[in-house]
């Protein structure tokens, strides 16, 4: 029995405390204040809104684990979405076939990966700070997108795309299924694959990792490439949901994804953080905005409350730390 508990604890990890506490607080507060909060409608809206932010957060997670940041995620998603949009338009717009969609998606993911690859190469080979590299990539992609679309929308897609944005299988929204699949891929990548292992090691000490015989440049390049590819998945979902692509769509998600990672217990300096707590943190954020929506507030108030929640969790963590210090059994002196 204790073995099961230890295994469970190691599987969940210490990062779980923050998001679970936040989850409990949100459920309790809204369950109490908004009687219709605990309803299928709430969870339905969460289920449909979660994937876009969630996929972008997954794209942000890997670079943060290496001690970096990818500030280009939202515009990478836009450019990837544009790629798919143009392929579809080139193949007949609303009359485009499934083949065009598959081809377009592959190209979109390729474009996303390419943007990540480029950043990864610069970061790995010049040791320039990832914030600066991804920031300039973001400015470049935003400019590129605006240049190519002249700031307008691209729309007119075949009808069979709608289910990817709005459909459901067995009552579970398709975007959510795609997102959960991606969460599982990331989870396996980080817990069971060499690349994931090395990602954590690099996040804590890149030189010591290199001295241990790890090709750190390759790992960094792969991490940013995967991050870019995940952005593309988000871009495809966004295309299906809005039935259009506009550069700047989802721009406001950028810093929310960083917030979601931190809320999920990811170390801002890299090296530590797990997918599942981040997943829970994302659900908490969406529950918050859905709950506020039910009470008549808009998304902007929800954004503010997200920030307040983050601060609250950090203050609780600080309080917990203080209690540890004053507890002579666990506190360490000297």
């Amino acid at each position: 029995m204790t073995a099961v508990i230890t295994r469970l604890r190691t599987a969940l990890g210490p990062e779980m405390a923050g998001p679970v506490a936040a989850f409990a607080i949100v459920m309790a507060v809204f369950g109490f204040m908004a009687p219709n909060f605990l309803s299928a409608a709430t969870f339905g809206s969460v289920a449909f809104q979660l994937p876009e932010l969630g996929l972008l957060t997954l794209a942000m997670l890997l670079p943060i684990l290496t001690g970096g940041l990818n500030l280009a995620i939202t515009f990478t998603a836009n450019i990837a979405g544009l790629t798919l949009a143009w392929v579809l338009q080139g193949q007949g717009g609303v009359d485009a076939g499934v083949g065009a969609f598959v081809l377009g998606s592959i190209l979109a993911i390729g474009v996303g990966a390419l943007s990540g690859l480029l950043m990864g190469l610069v970061i790995a080979y010049t040791k320039a700070h990832p914030i600066l590299v991804s920031l300039s990539m973001m400015i470049f992609l935003r400019g590129l997108g605006e240049f190519l679309t002249r700031g307008g929308d691209v729309s007119g897609f075949p009808a069979f795309l709608a289910p990817i944005g709005y459909g459901a299988i067995l009552g579970i929204p398709i975007p959510l299924l795609i997102f959960i699949a991606c969460v599982l891929v990331w989870h396996v990548l980080l817990t069971r694959m060499k690349l994931g292992f090395n990602t954590y090691m690099i996040g804590s000490n890149i030189e010591a990792t290199r001295y241990s015989g790890i090709n750190t440049r390759k790992v960094l390049v792969l991490v940013y490439t995967l991050s870019g590819a995940m952005c593309a998945v988000a871009g495809i979902i966004m295309l299906a949901r809005f039935n259009s692509v506009r550069v700047g769509h989802g721009e406001s998600y950028l810093l929310i994804t960083v917030l979601a990672c931190f809320l999920g217990g990811v170390n801002p300096f890299g090296g530590f953080g797990r997918v599942i707590p981040v997943f829970i943190a994302l659900i908490v954020l969406q529950l918050l905005s859905s709950g506020l929506n039910l009470m008549g507030a808009n998304q902007h108030l929800a954004t503010a409350v997200w920030g307040i929640l983050m601060i609250t969790v950090m203050i609780l963590r600080w309080l917990a730390g203080r209690i540890m210090i004053f507890n002579p059994r666990k506190g360490s002196s000297s």
Partner: protein
Amino acid sequence: MAGKLPDAAETKPLLSLSNINMTFGGVRALKNVSFEVLPGEVHCLAGENGCGKSTLIKVITGVYKPADGAVIEYDGQTYSAMSPVTAQAGGIQVIWQDLALFPEMTVAENIAFQTVIGRWPRMVNYAEMRRIATGSLQKLGVTMDVDLALHHYPIAQRQIVAIARALVGEAKLVFMDEPTASLTQSETDYLLDIVRSLSKSGVAVVFVSHRLAEVLEISSRVTVLRDGNLVGVYPTKGLTQSRITELMTGKTFDNSVRTRQVGGSPEMLEVRGLTRPGEFEDVSFTVRRGETLGITGLLGAGRTELALTLFGMRKPKSGTIILDGKPVRFGSNRAAIRAGVAYLSEDRLSLGLIQPQSIGDNMVIASLDKILAGGLISHDRQRSLVGGWVKDLGVKIGKQDDAISTLSGGNQQRIAIAKWLATNPKLLILDAPTVGVDVGARAGIFDIVSKLADRGLAIILISDEVPEVYYNADRVMHMAQGRIAGEYVPSATPMETIEEAVYA
């Protein structure tokens, strides 16, 4: 070699402590300790990690308040506890091991930093700073460009800056906490000269060092602590390294040279004419299976550079490396590891191990392929692999998931060795494996090294401490200025011969 001992009966102590007790959360860090420093004396404080050395320094500098009953006499005054302010005002200065310097600021600012301290903002007087800095450096007989940012200078020069900073006020008593830990031999010699001149000018120096050779060379008296107890105060004259070790650890170690016969076993590594201009030139040697080759030498001798070249992290300009009968040319350390070369870094804290990460992950990082099952990492395999090595090398750990930084230096180094053994190496290069490892734990490390050699591993042991290679290697190679300057067999050579050759 030992410094002159002032006549204790005639000289009144500058500092005298008695009945010092300190307790942290139920653990007694200092038990009824007394300590005494004479004016202008170089006094060594010796003891293993956790023996209470740092605690004692912090009591003297006023960081900690000792338990009631303590008597501290300093410069004619009696206190029951020091405060940082009285310690500073009385001329007590500490040079911490990490120096606490500001690399991006100029040398002048670093030395005269106190002029910018203070509650209310003032204009900075750069001329005054330069004057103070130059003056303080002059006391040490050093000239430096004080307007250059500190990070342009090597670590030894920074150490000088830290000392210069301590001397800005009227310093009477200077504590140096492991000042030589990151210095090479010649840099250390330079530092020891400065300590001597300080002492001559009347400043008392309390010197804390792991390196016993220095302790013997520089000090006039040694105070030894063990587990928070005072073991005793000894005049340095008449002490030997092994005697201090015994006093520090309470154990006796047998220091005998190795006399194993390895001449018959096949050659594992042959290096011919290996050259990297500016680092090492025309280096040729062999290491046999089961043999331990010691390499020693001073700063710039090219030891670490040679090791990194064998490990594939630097490319030789010319020369050949033959490993296990096959000529090899490594494009990276990954190729070297695959071929069976392992390199334990001299810098355990920042290059050898990934301090924040877990013991288990640190151990398997170089041999991830061994714990794969169906292409995925198997945590069960990892656990059993780590468990096996932990048992094999006698590492004391809590849980495998604990951060490696929670272990002592000696246990960390064992994990680092295990990490490389897990890659099944043919050649193991150990670069300064005992840096930051307690004297008592060093013997344990060398026991492991000896066992590995018996198992047939070829080992290169690099150290700048001659006794370390003398007692633990089958053959000793002396490198100087990038070339091989001599080769000795310990069982046929007195250690003094090698020491003279190296330090001459």
